[in-house]
Symmetry: D2
Subunit: 165 residues, 4 copies
């Protein structure tokens, strides 16, 4: 499994580690990488992909949107259909409760679904998310939020296993 | 101005009252009504409409979606174009930080925009929202959230005034 | 597999029949029902659920939104988690190319994902959709669109089979 | 007024020109620029901003998402609130009827609304859009679609005029 993320403050990275931890608890092999370091081989090898982004101006980070397009055309996965039927999941962090985490997760989910991936979510939500506080009052990622991320990683691993032939 | 809402627990009603209070602080005449009580005359008279809903299963309440369709066909505003160029705004309440408040506000905003209304939002968000807690740990609407709702009401009133001939 | 839909003009019903046909081509047992006729037993029995709606005022039909809430609370699937890990897919019809079919499919997808279902889409889209024309110039559902719906049904059946223990 | 767009094939550029034409028909001064050429002064001078993008992998082009973040932080409009209360509108082009034009327009609208801009749409939709055909069967932008873009430009100009003090 691949957990790919963009992070500046470390919050989304914390969530990525928690998703990975959850997947490992299901005996999945997990690679955790910053989005810019993900290779074509990483994507080919993964039977599940979790993608994470902070909220930037109400929506997904440019670095993540950019990668989703690069995977399609630069790395050739649009024509090869090489990501089809893999499992996918998304996670996001943002400063305030309703400042775009849902739209950020939506953008990533839509991008992954374009490739014919199968979307796995937590019960009652579109992805795992953390409200990390405004700059003046930074609280970071809470234990409850890490726990949700672990749960998503575990669930993604279980679905990916079933989808694999 | 019309503030229309659906509420079961009283949380969305609290937000509606705060939106109204904000609009009144700008000297707007404000009518606050439960969504089912809104009449054709209420809609015609308003130069701005704020619409609020709790999150139900990740999206807008049936009662609110239903009203948006009824206003179009039952009350005839789709053909009459009688809501065009009015100002509009949305607000929502939900139990958890990212359980659908953004999608609920989106659904209402899309519905109002269909009529050619002009959408007014808070700075940095799609609408005013409150995270009210899960049933076992109900916290209700906080002062910071009411303040955002008041701000949205005031802003809606100012834009509505400018849009009026 | 269950194909549930709301339809007034017959367009969404045509899409529903095509989704069902695609699923049957993969040897799935398929039940096709209008949304109001779907029973608790139908939902329990299905290992995959396809849900379809026309666009009404830019978003999902009230009847479909209403069913998604009823399944949760009226039929008890929110607490029982009885729909978790089933496969799901969505389809929509609308008069104009960009009048809300994407948002209608999004609303249904978000609703189904709330239950922990796993979302299956066509390659390059969120669901199967048909642009059926404005009332004055009704064109109905085209062969290309029915073909996409069949493809989605077949894909849903294949994924549902793999997800089943 | 500013019409900013990204275009590779010329389709989104055609839509941009039509939006500008519509705004000029209302006696607005209009600047049409590729997104990468937009300056801080362009943004400050405009009382309305129309933003256009093609669909790339189901969502907004990286170049456009990137500009929305650059305007906030690179050009300083987030802290200065220098775009607040300006009117805004969006337009998009995509190959297939429901391949992401709505989500592309949503992403741009959400970005512009973050700045406290006021969103203006066509009657019955979120923005002006064109279905331009798949590469093998390119049809370009049709007259009906250009007409919708002109109408949106005219409407944006009228609302921007009213919002200006």
């Amino acid at each position: 499994m691949l957990v790919a993320y963009f992070s500046q403050t470390g919050n989304t990275e914390s969530m990525a580690e928690a998703v990975a931890e959850g997947a490992r608890s299901e005996d999945a092999d997990v690679v955790v990488k910053r989005i810019g370091d993900v290779t074509k081989a990483d994507l080919e090898a993964a039977d599940g992909i979790a993608l994470g982004s902070p909220v930037h101006m109400g929506d997904v980070a440019v670095e993540v949107r950019s990668a989703l397009v690069d995977w399609a055309y630069g790395k050739g996965f649009w024509r090869s259909r090489g990501l089809e039927n893999k499992a996918c999941a998304v996670f996001a962090t943002g400063g305030a409760p309703s400042n775009g985490k849902e739209f950020t997760m939506l953008s990533m989910a839509l991008g992954l679904l374009q490739y014919g991936m199968v979307l796995v979510t937590p019960y009652g939500g579109l992805g795992a998310s953390a409200t990390t506080g405004v700059p003046e009052h930074e609280k970071g990622v809470g234990e409850h939020e890490l726990s949700e991320a672990r749960g998503l990683g575990a669930r993604l691993a279980r679905v990916a296993l079933r989808l694999r032939e």
